[in-house]
Symmetry: C3
Subunit: 389 residues, 3 copies
């Protein structure tokens, strides 16, 4: 849960925990052909995340989580209640704003992901991709640590940040299922397989049925490198995302793909060619294993923290990430890019992480909106100090 | 106080409690004559409120409360210190930003009001009405649970959100007195009578002495239905608000009126015709009573919470609400509206509430600013999931 | 630490404390020659500060502090982690956003400063001066209560609020050293000497190497009285700040100066004439002493709090403050001002302070940007209710 303690009532029925995180980044980024009006070049620091909130339980069977992000503009993130109804166990119910159940990397707490930024197709809050995001909605899910499976389903409106502007925002339906196979009766040898689906209905009278897909060159503190621009006349889109991961002692492999089908309206053709994906391997030099539970990676337990005179946990990792936002038959020319990333993470203790990532991104077949020229490479190196409360 | 626990020091002189609330709404609203540039039609969700803060006591005789709202823009709400000086008991002193002592529905925690939105004349933060609101000021009050009375008086400047723009913001004086008569020596059979007054001085050189009155058609997630536009050349206004309420077991009746007299300046006539009011009845099907204490309704104690295998508390309610913003002799033509509202509330446990409200609003004698046409009806249905921390 | 309690785990290795503060101000300000488009005249209240966050320790040797300001716009303030590595004692390490180690008055918690606003040359968040501010960076420091010294050094980028706009923000190096001499083996008779330095590199391609220096007439809730306007073509600036303070029982003397050398670029001459400083004396009528520890003034311990039937702590103080933003050879004509301030502070209990300050500011040799005329006087009186959590 992070470094801050959980306070529990004597009867164990109520508890409260202050959650949050602070990420301080320094970025040095250079493009080999840096367009004049669209400078990628960066040498600056930023607070990448500064979040605080509360979570806990009450009346035994209810749980809540609420937090607010303050970096890069103020925004409510999680804001939901869970009800673990005894008569529907193992299913529980959730209402409020929370992450739609999509993608292994998206559902995890960012702190427990291997690299500083998510894969390009996921997008998250500020980078967009295929727009996997928190939304206001309700749903149900079942999770089991014993049987190593999860299933989740939800119906959603939009993220709270959008609801002031748009009075009619369509809806989303999303579902995810995962299963882990553990070997040798141990938690650190396992294979995860999973998949998720999301249907977004964008069809409404007032908003011109618009959508946008775009991405940055891995790092956040720079401009976007590929971008479809605003696509009007779209009924909706369908996201499909298979997942595969493996943990074998200190070694881990992780991979996902995401296909996004765009359902055209009013004469716009359907787009079937937008997709992205990644593959990575990582290794703990100091012997730790990535922790996995209920369909997501969790926080690593540091074997020899510096406070015990140890070296902390050291992790080496590399990833290839790809995103294709081109579909000429549907007149979508957002561009394509691949990134090669190498990362080093040091956790002196649990819940504190210093990261150093290098990324080389190659952009091609673009539309001139963001890349000014057909071939462009962007190199960046970034350091982060992160703490999870 | 909500679902989160209060932490108290061993000597009992200091305590802290994390307060807050999250309201997630879904609104479906249709106008029978929906103007092009002023669409009332909505089918969207929003975070209606997402608030967090702290309250507690220190040095035995002092109390504080501080919280911030994050939904629909970030804003400091309560920010005050109370001093319960032993030598002035039962009077205590308050300084900071807090609600001016006006209106039975306004002084209550919203969670404990029967319907999803306040009466139109009250206005609150985003809906305006006669502008009853929190303001920076200081005052004194006495409250007694034993003798069932309250008196309060305060002198105020403006709400903190306004103080950046306006360097000279006039002042407000407000007072309220209430008395409850309990029958049969029980807390759930009582009559509440009360009244409040507020004088706002808007007279200053820099701000053109401007004021605005307006309202939405009950629901918040749509445009305003009646609106005076900006009224210049106003010295100030005087608000008078009588209150009457009754609790008789599971049954409750509640009613208020609000008159607002506008004191014209520089040739503008006085306005005496602006007023609003409401009447409602509510009934707990599951036997609970509305809780009342020290001049305000408090949180209902659920008799059979779902965590004990019960059905929670179910409440049915209906209200008629009226607001008249027309005064032709003073050249104020904001329009008039009445709303009929039916509501159903379900509290599965204390401090969690699911609400379903239907409202029919009829707008007439408008000025064309917001209604485009003399007669317009707006129908809406909304659902809310709410938690109080 | 303020009025809210610290919660510590049974083993003493982890703790959490909710920090924050609320300052409610009322200002009455009049200029003897109030320019039309630049009105200084104010009679209004404001929330001067409304801040909340958490601090604590974890894993024994780590500490964190995180808080957010909500008054006058939302902004992350402190966001850092400390590591007290046993093998480098007495030095500890800090990473994140925190105050650059400059100026006796700047490094203190504002609550413990004698007057309602800092000296003009310091500037702080909204008043600018020479721009002493929190920034994202990393550094090391050593502090000793036993030997009464501090040394600190850090390398910084910018404040998080600036990093969205500017992708290349230069860097800062800052250092400070202090020593206190205590007499008669007591904590309330001491002399503090100290000094700090800061070098800011503003040289980069994208931002036009711009800097601005400016100040308000002591009070915050009015316009700026002197102002260099934006200075382009500047490589950087060097700040030097000597400090001297004395505590002798209830009496205290405090003084600082700040020189700011501007390193011109592209034909702009260097500026050597910008400087400011202040001197003040204060006296506790009720016998308290200002508390000093590790290079900064700390919260006063009230001897006879009102909750024990006492009068609280009463403090009288007066200050002369000066700032010169003119250097004609470098074509910088921001103006000059001096202020005479008289203040009265009442602390009914620890961590609650009511302040009443009067200030007379005289502005001269200005450039017309802010003062419209060569000689102008501004008088103000302000009251504040403050609480520290």
């Amino acid at each position: 849960r992070g470094v801050s303690p959980t306070i529990t009532s004597p009867d164990g029925k109520n508890s409260i925990h202050i959650n949050g995180r602070v990420y301080g980044d320094y970025d040095f980024i250079r493009a080999d052909d840096n367009p004049a009006g669209n400078h990628f070049n960066t040498s600056a620091s930023q607070l990448r995340s500064a979040r605080i909130g509360i979570d806990g339980k009450f009346a035994q069977d209810f749980q809540y989580r609420f937090n607010v992000e303050f970096a890069g503009g103020t925004e409510v993130k999680d804001a939901y209640i869970d009800y673990n109804a005894p008569f529907t166990t193992p299913f529980f119910f959730r209402v409020g704003q929370y992450k739609t159940p999509n993608s292994l990397e998206q559902v995890a707490d960012d702190f427990n992901n291997t690299f500083m930024e998510q894969a390009a197709f996921i997008g998250g809050t500020q980078n967009n991709g295929f727009g996997l995001d928190r939304s206001i909605g309700a749903g149900t899910a079942a999770e089991s640590d014993k049987d190593n499976y999860t299933v989740a389903f939800g119906a959603f409106s939009q993220n709270a940040r959008n609801t002031t502007a748009a009075k009619s925002g369509g809806y989303q339906l999303a579902a995810r299922a995962t299963k882990a196979f553990k070997f040798n009766n141990t938690d650190d040898e396992l294979v995860h397989v999973g998949g998720s689906v999301r249907w977004r209905d964008l069809n409404n009278q007032t908003d011109n049925d618009a959508v946008i897909y775009r991405a940055r060159p891995f790092f956040n503190n720079t401009n976007r490198s590929i971008n479809t621009g605003t696509l009007n006349n779209v009924n909706g889109d369908l996201f499909l995302g298979p997942e595969l991961a493996l943990v074998y002692g200190p070694f881990s492999f992780q991979s996902e793909a995401g296909w996004n089908y765009v359902d055209g309206a009013k004469g716009r053709d359907d787009a079937t060619g937008l997709w992205g994906g990644y593959m990575d391997v990582s290794y703990y030099l100091t012997g730790e294993s990535r922790r996995y539970s209920r369909g997501a990676f969790r926080s690593t337990k540091v074997l020899q923290p510096v406070t015990n005179g140890g070296w902390g946990a050291w992790q080496l990792a590399t990833r290839v990430d790809y995103l294709d936002l081109n579909n000429t038959s549907a007149d979508i020319r957002g561009g394509q890019q691949w990134s090669a990333i190498v990362g080093l993470n040091w956790l002196p203790v649990d819940f504190v992480k210093l990261s150093l990532d290098y990324a080389h991104t190659h952009v091609f077949n673009g539309n001139g909106i963001t890349t000014q020229g057909d071939d462009n490479s962007i190199d960046g190196v970034a350091a982060r100090a992160a703490i999870n409360f």
